[in-house]
């Protein structure tokens, strides 16, 4: 019995001490920036945006937010700050839904005195249900409830990969800024026709009657649940939406699955709705035909060179490619005509 007592108590105490140690180390290192800014001597390079973004919002001071998906990831923030706003940060979500954006915007409005939001409107984001996210959001990081922080403090993935690994990196003299040095897909990117053609995925053709209604339903849900409330609750905040330029190969896919009409009807609906608000500007870059038809600008249907991100920043700063109540129908129609009549056969043959 005495041996069992010693055995049991030793294990329980050892486990407890180790858990407290893990928790303490995580609080000090705080790789997800929940409690404090990055320590000067500690390097933190975090890859999961859904996990690091709330910490950035909690511990960084900014008045302008650039919100987007992987297509916006390569926006040069030094350039953005020079051209648009000096006090701005970029928050990216991979494969996001508008619920991702809503969640982080709620936190940003709570923690910061926001003056402007630059919001990427990728078409795929609008086509996803408003009440889902690609991965389950770690809600314990998005609130101020300390009791659920145990999910952060006693988390094997965070402790082993971030706290321990970053400690080793720090001792080796490596340094990175978790706010500025986000992961980018540029590292292994191959631009050009071969890459675009290899990543050309064509979905099954949708039922003609269903697709328009479905897309409008999805867009309506995303707008009413996750976007418009911010416009209404913050009339003094400038919301600048922008639609990144998808490669012409993307529109080949839409021709094949029969959703060109639905895509443009959805976008027209979204544009019309957003432009009703005085605090909204909307920029559209799909009409940059020289961009979208040059495969050297792309690695696949949607991901483009950082130079195009720079060009978009220039356009937004200069007010170019802006959709207004007067011109949006004509602009969208011209792009639709272009993608409808484009010579996809020649595109596939490489002519």
């Amino acid at each position: 019995m005495k041996q069992s007592k010693k055995w049991s108590l030793t294990i329980l105490i050892a486990v407890l001490i180790t858990l407290l140690g893990c928790a303490g180390a995580t609080v000090i290192a705080d790789p997800l920036l929940q409690y404090h800014k990055p320590l000067p001597f500690y390097t933190s390079f975090y890859r999961e945006e859904a996990y690091i973004n709330p910490g950035i919002v909690k511990t960084t001071s900014f008045d302008t937010l650039l919100l987007g998906a992987s297509t916006t990831q390569n926006t040069d923030m030094e350039y953005f700050r020079r051209k648009i706003s000096p006090n701005s940060i970029k928050l990216i979500y991979s494969g996001p839904t508008t619920l991702n954006y809503k969640t982080i915007l709620n936190l940003a409005f709570e923690k910061q005195d926001l003056k402007a939001v630059y919001y990427a409107l990728d078409l795929s984001t609008l086509q996803k249900p408003y009440d889902t996210t690609p991965v389950e959001l770690p809600e314990y990081l998005y609130d101020d409830d300390l009791t659920n922080d145990i999910n952060y403090l006693l988390n094997k993935d965070i402790f082993l990969k971030e706290v321990l690994q970053n400690t080793v990196n720090s001792l080796r003299g490596k340094h990175s800024d978790p706010v500025e040095d986000t992961e980018t897909w540029l590292e292994d990117a191959k631009f050009g026709r071969e890459s675009v053609m290899k990543n050309l995925h064509v979905r099954e053709r949708m039922e003609q009657s269903a697709d328009v209604d479905l897309y409008l339903e999805l867009a309506k849900g995303n707008l009413t649940q996750n976007i418009l409330p911010f416009l209404e609750e913050h009339p003094d905040v400038q919301f600048t939406f922008f639609v990144p330029p998808n490669c012409i190969s993307y529109w080949y896919g839409r021709k094949m699955d029969g959703t060109v009409d639905a895509s443009f009807q959805m976008l027209e609906y979204v544009t019309k709705t957003l432009l009703e608000y005085d605090n909204v500007e909307l920029y559209y870059f799909q009409d940059q035909f020289n961009w979208i038809t040059d495969f050297d600008n792309y690695i696949d249907n949607v991901h483009f060179r950082p130079e195009l991100n720079v060009a978009m920043v220039d356009c937004i700063a200069a007010g170019e490619h802006r959709l207004t109540k007067e011109n949006y129908r004509q602009v969208l129609q011209s792009v639709k005509s272009f993608v409808d009549s484009y010579d996809y056969k020649a595109m596939l043959e490489g002519k």
Binding site: M1, K2, Q3, S4, K5, K6, W7, S8, T10, I11, L12, A14, V15, T18, L19, C22, E48, E49, A50, Y51, S70, S94, G95, D122, S124, P134, V135, E136, P138, I150, N151, Y152, L154, N155, K156, D157, I158, F159, L160, K161, Q165, W185, H201, D300, N301, V302
Partner: protein, 483 residues
């Protein structure tokens, strides 16, 4: 509440243990039982407060019927009370679990358009209903002493076995709570229970939950799996169900032992079984015991000739299939198991002449295919997946598929050796270890029977407990790079 949660391990269990033995220490035995019953109800209601009225009503109803059986001696009235009790208990189970399935079939057969009721299934209702059915039948047979309400309530609600079994019989549990020698906290039982709990939690959290991701991916992508992915998915189904269910049973056993209560064994290394008949003596043993005592034997067992024996076997497995869920997959799975048992019995002499390893391999093959039917979203999907094994094409599994096997500890080792690009290693490790564990390692009950509090066992228990607790919360990676 789940066993594998911070609140259970760090708060609920220590507080409940301390409270229970504190009351017993001061000879307040009834208070100790009330404390444990109340704690068990808190454990149950933590999922959803609404569940509480269901289990409390069930307890009150069945206890009242038992009191009737004690007082009423006339056979006709006792039969009527039994019938009433069975109808109400099974009726409630039917209403929550099977009513929409019944409507689905009614609409299909009769062309009606009844709307589904969509009642939320109370957690563990199958388990505590069956437990009380056994109590009801034994009461009718006069095999139940006149228990007090607290004893009965504790028997039904005792939290280690409340939501996922094992299905314990009243005669196994209630006398233990009466036993004075079990009122005092015992470190030898606690140590053994801690080891069992750690092993069980590791099986669930470190293995079953990982394979669960593979299973979910497979179910969402059945049409596009290649042969290798299909095989790995079928194995993931098969190992996941074992490690999940047996892990939970181990945790239940371990926690029970911390309270000095011995909970019956539920799994006895079922994948070591050579034949399907032996498999079913080792898998979910308490459920099979229930069916044997309350269904197979009342139907006549093996006493009515060969045909009736096989009929009774098939009935048991069909009911067992249906018990698992309201779905034709489960019914088909049950039918397949029944058929395999019958065929094995018919050809037992021939089977015994075959090499043992061949029979064992054949049995594992059949069991794994059975799990595919059990877990696939539909029967059609099950056959698609099985078909893909032969027609899907042998190729390296996709990165997205292999990502489901990814475990942080293995990832760090691969990073250390510069092998991060070889993602297949994750699958090899998880499936390879699973095979080794089910075929060659001792099960938890075997470990408990020879348990000594050694340094080596302590180290293993420490690491399993630590890694499991740190795995309650994980980082969900965005895998798909699709637009």
């Amino acid at each position: 509440m789940l066993f594998n949660s911070y609140i259970f391990v760090l708060l609920f269990l220590p507080v409940t243990l301390i409270g229970y033995f504190a009351w017993n220490h001061f000879d307040r035995y009834k208070a100790a039982k009330i404390w444990l019953t109340a704690a068990s109800l808190v454990f149950y209601a933590y999922f959803k407060l609404d569940y509480l009225w269901i289990i409390l009503s069930s307890i009150l109803f069945n206890f009242a019927l038992n009191k009737l059986f004690v007082r009423v001696k006339k056979k006709n009235i006792r039969k009527a009370v039994l019938a009433f009790g069975l109808i109400v208990n099974i009726g409630i189970l039917f209403a929550f679990k099977y009513f929409d399935f019944f409507l689905l079939n009614l609409n299909y057969i009769l062309g009606t358009g009844f709307s589904f009721v969509n009642l939320l299934l109370p957690l563990g209702i199958s388990f505590f209903t069956f437990q009380q059915l056994s109590y009801l039948v034994d009461s009718y047979r006069g095999e139940v002493p006149d228990y007090g309400f607290v004893d009965y309530a504790l028997y039904v609600t005792f939290f280690p076995q409340l939501i996922a079994g094992p299905i314990v019989l009243h005669g196994e549990i209630i006398p233990q709570f009466e036993d004075l020698s079990k009122k005092k906290f015992r470190f030898d039982n606690f140590a053994k229970g801690l080891m069992a709990f750690s092993f069980g939690m590791a099986k669930k959290v470190l293995i079953a939950d990982v394979l669960g991701r593979t299973a979910a991916y497979a179910c969402a992508n059945i049409g596009s799996l290649n042969s290798v992915e299909s095989i790995l998915s079928i194995l993931a189904f098969s190992f996941r169900v074992y490690f999940d269910f047996s892990g939970y049973s181990d945790m239940a056993t371990g926690v029970g032992l911390m309270f000095n209560i011995e909970i019956p064994q539920n799994f006895d290394s079922p994948y070591k079984a050579v034949t399907i008949v032996e498999f079913w003596r080792r898998w979910n043993m308490t459920l099979n015991r229930f069916f044997l005592k309350y269904l197979y034997i009342p139907l006549g067992g093996n006493r009515g000739g060969v045909f009736k024996t096989y009929r009774n076997i098939m009935v048991v497995f069909l009911v067992s299939g249906l018990w698992h869920g309201a779905n034709y997959n489960y019914i088909l799975w049950g039918a397949i198991q029944g058929l395999l048992c019958i065929v094995t019995r018919v050809f037992m002499k021939q089977i015994e002449r075959l090499p043992r390893w061949l029979v064992h391999a054949g049995n594992l093959f059949c069991v794994c295919l059975g799990w595919t039917v059990f877990f696939a979203p539909s029967i059609g999907d099950a056959f698609t997946m099985i078909g893909s094994v032969f027609t899907g094409g042998f190729a390296m599994p996709s990165a997205d598929f292999l990502h489901t096997f990814q475990v942080t500890e293995i990832q760090m080792l691969l990073h250390l050796f510069g092998l991060l690009d070889y993602r297949i290693i994750y699958a090899v490790c998880m499936i390879g270890f699973s095979w080794f564990a089910v075929l060659f390692m001792k099960n938890t009950n075997e470990r408990m029977s020879v348990f000594q509090p050694t340094f080596r066992k302590g180290l293993v228990t420490f690491f399993l407990l630590l890694l499991s607790i740190l795995s309650f919360s994980r980082v969900e990676s965005f895998v798909y790079f699709n637009f």
